[in-house]
Symmetry: C2
Subunit: 442 residues, 2 copies
């Protein structure tokens, strides 16, 4: 790997990677070669453009010089040569004197992505876009973040499940449902693993987690929505309220961000200009009603008829929290029952409020969590009140008829977390292959 | 947690779980309570059936006695009481003298699943079926197995990706493709992440891995097929051949099985009667043609017109390997090009064979791996030869036009691995919620 070179002693090495840049000077050729770990400068000191009978190495030097002259951006090559440490080389302090170079696969000369290409062109050629060091870093961060979360879950004895994405009915709302031709009938794509992670509670699994795709037939084109996204889900038994869920949620965020900071903090600073802060616990927690009062007092009237906050309100309360407490995170809690799904548990003694929360990160909602209603009579009544068809929910309601512990959990959008962590403007930048109403390719 | 009780000293405890059994004797009541960690015996020594004015604790004892009498199987309860170590108690050597017991959620009295219920009834009520200790263990094993694999990948610097499951075209065969209504058009569900994990190679990601769902509109009803299953995928750059893929594949299997053996070996022995063996490396590797000769020499003529082996042939070669080398695993290698997908690389100098393998575990195929063809001209010709439409593959073929390293990888069915590891007869037993042509519920 290229980033291992600096630690090696001078001597023969072989490296492989793709051509990032070629400087073809009269007497010397330079190639910047990149692999997934970094970049290194290759040098050909033996430039010979035309056969020279006087030069005994003419047969080697001429083809090598021509090969390098013809290298196109992105071509994959394998190189053998001498590693030399050289302080004057800005790129890592080493360079490789080329002995031999062979083209593994050539790239077409015209790169369809230019430095100033817009997001749509970049997504059309996502595999080229992903070669940029920032983009590569996004997915190494993703790897570290998810692994840290899973380590917490595994250490606590939670069980990893894979819930089915093919369902017989809607799990959230009929409106944003993808329909699948399923043999002679129909199936639907899971909008979330909600029902199935609650099933694990009835099954006595205790705590469970899943990282997997979720699907929403959402026709919107915002920077935060996709028709397919990666959902991070957890559900735990024996909670007293949503507070227990927030506590573990917090612990996960701190573990994930700490691991990312430790492993990639310097690179994030360099490539994104972001100083990653590891938050202390607990994160600020503000009931939604209070948050609305705060932004109102600061001069913003939320332009919504329902009890919810709008994205601008979320930005403002986040700015308030950042300024007052220094946090990038805030839990907004106790949402009104009118804007929460039927399966959220309501306050004991005040059915207008739920035991629920949203987690806001850098002013944007990344997660919804709640204690779930586990009492079948109450659950059924809430479903009916929300206009759901109990017959269609039959299989789900059955989970609650044979004993189930009090439980709660959250779902969190991975791509949003990464977008906000790295100060990006769209989840298109932090999704491996974005899917939207107009985008199914590549 | 219940399995922590044995290590605790005698004294007051609180536990929660579901009722597995009630023995309601005249003067004493026993309850077996289970949580996800294990089971414990509860004892009510203060049985009092009717109010007794002579007894000062009558008001407490009568309701408690009645509560216990009425407990139904599966009801979730919370219990406070005195922990007592007692060697005569078979169940863990401890019992709890009940001080108070409260029902969290009651279960309906008639359990729809009986001890002798068939697999279909059990799947209808999967959440009750999953309460069986064997079933709970399956998913704790899954957790341990996947975490061990990911640890190897992360330690080696591989990148975790989530590839889209919504695609514009088929990734494997048109025949087994699910179609999705996608706004005004159509999408298809990914049959494998094949194209997208190869895209990561063109993107210079080096090595990548993914654990996620794959979808096959396969109308068959065998014990090994599902319409949705969990696929474990890996792809690595700079391989010399499929041998490099097999080497890492082996390492992963050993790491996964070691971790499972260490953490769950005893329980597996107890609940499944299986002595889990951690294999040494390398696993036996036999070219398919040779494997066919071996089973033929042992008296089995493979009843197939094409060059492939049939399931019975796989069982027989596995038995041969087990007997001769003591291995539960065998790599069958160098499959004929005629029975492999167009993207498998063929032998240099013999285009009739591919750089590919299947991994057989306990006689059943669990994985297919290969070096991929990365030379665009060859790849395109092989696609055409296989009757694929290059126009429809355009986005995929583009991956190879801008430089790509030699690479290879495998896809492996998680549910099959678990089925075979635990000596189960069907992946229905080792899938959280099985999906088949007739099954979309729960």
């Amino acid at each position: 790997m290229i980033n291992d070179l600096a630690a090696r002693e001078d001597g023969p090495v072989r490296v492989s990677g793709w051509v990032e840049k070629v400087r073809d000077q009269r007497h010397v050729q330079f190639v910047v070669l990149r692999d997934e770990s970094g970049a290194v400068q290759l040098v050909n000191g033996g430039v010979l453009r035309e056969p020279d009978p006087e030069n005994p190495r003419s047969d080697i030097l001429v083809p090598r010089t021509r090969t390098i002259s013809e290298l196109t951006h992105g071509t994959f090559v394998t190189v053998g040569g001498e590693l030399q440490h050289n302080e004057r080389v800005k790129l890592g302090g080493v360079e490789i004197q080329i002995d031999e170079i062979s083209v593994v696969t050539a790239a077409l000369p015209d790169n369809p992505v230019a430095d100033d290409s817009g997001i749509d062109v970049r997504l059309d050629w996502r595999f080229l876009d992903l070669r940029r060091p920032e983009q590569n870093l996004v997915f190494r961060i993703q790897t570290t973040f998810l692994h840290a979360l899973r380590q917490v879950w595994v250490d606590r004895g939670l069980i990893e499940i894979q819930t089915p994405k093919l369902m017989a009915s809607a799990s959230e709302s009929r409106a944003e449902l993808f329909e699948v031709e399923y043999f002679e009938g129909k199936a639907f794509l899971a909008q979330s693993p909600q029902f199935f992670k609650q099933m694990a509670q009835a099954a006595g699994f205790g705590g469970i987690f899943e990282v997997g795709p979720a699907f929403r037939a959402d026709p919107s084109f915002t920077s935060r929505h996709a028709t397919e996204f990666t959902s991070i889900d957890m559900e735990i038994s024996w909670v007293d309220s949503h507070v227990d869920v927030m506590d573990l949620h917090e612990e996960l965020m701190v573990a994930g961000i700490s691991a990312v900071e430790e492993k990639h903090g310097e690179e994030i600073q360099k490539l994104f200009g972001v100083e990653l802060a590891v938050p202390s616990r607990p994160f600020p927690r503000i009931p939604l009603a209070e948050a609305k009062e705060i932004v109102k007092a600061e001069g913003y009237e939320i332009p919504r008829a329902d009890a919810d906050m709008d994205p601008e309100g979320e930005r403002r309360i986040a700015a308030h929290v950042k300024q007052k407490y220094g946090y990038d995170f805030v839990f907004l809690t106790d949402y009104a029952a009118s804007i929460r799904p039927f399966y959220h548990m309501r306050h004991e003694g005040d059915a207008s409020l739920t035991n629920s929360y949203d987690l806001i990160y850098h002013g944007v909602e990344i997660s919804t969590g709640a204690q779930r209603e586990h009492r079948i009579e109450v659950l059924e009544a809430q479903a009916v009140e929300k206009g759901m068809d109990p017959a269609e929910l039959g299989f789900y309601l059955d989970f609650f008829r044979y004993g189930v512990p009090p439980h709660g959990g959250f779902g969190m959008g991975l791509n949003r977390v990464l977008m906000l962590m790295l100060g990006q403007s769209s989840i298109r930048e932090t999704t491996y292959l974005f899917r939207g109403p107009n985008r199914l390719l590549p």
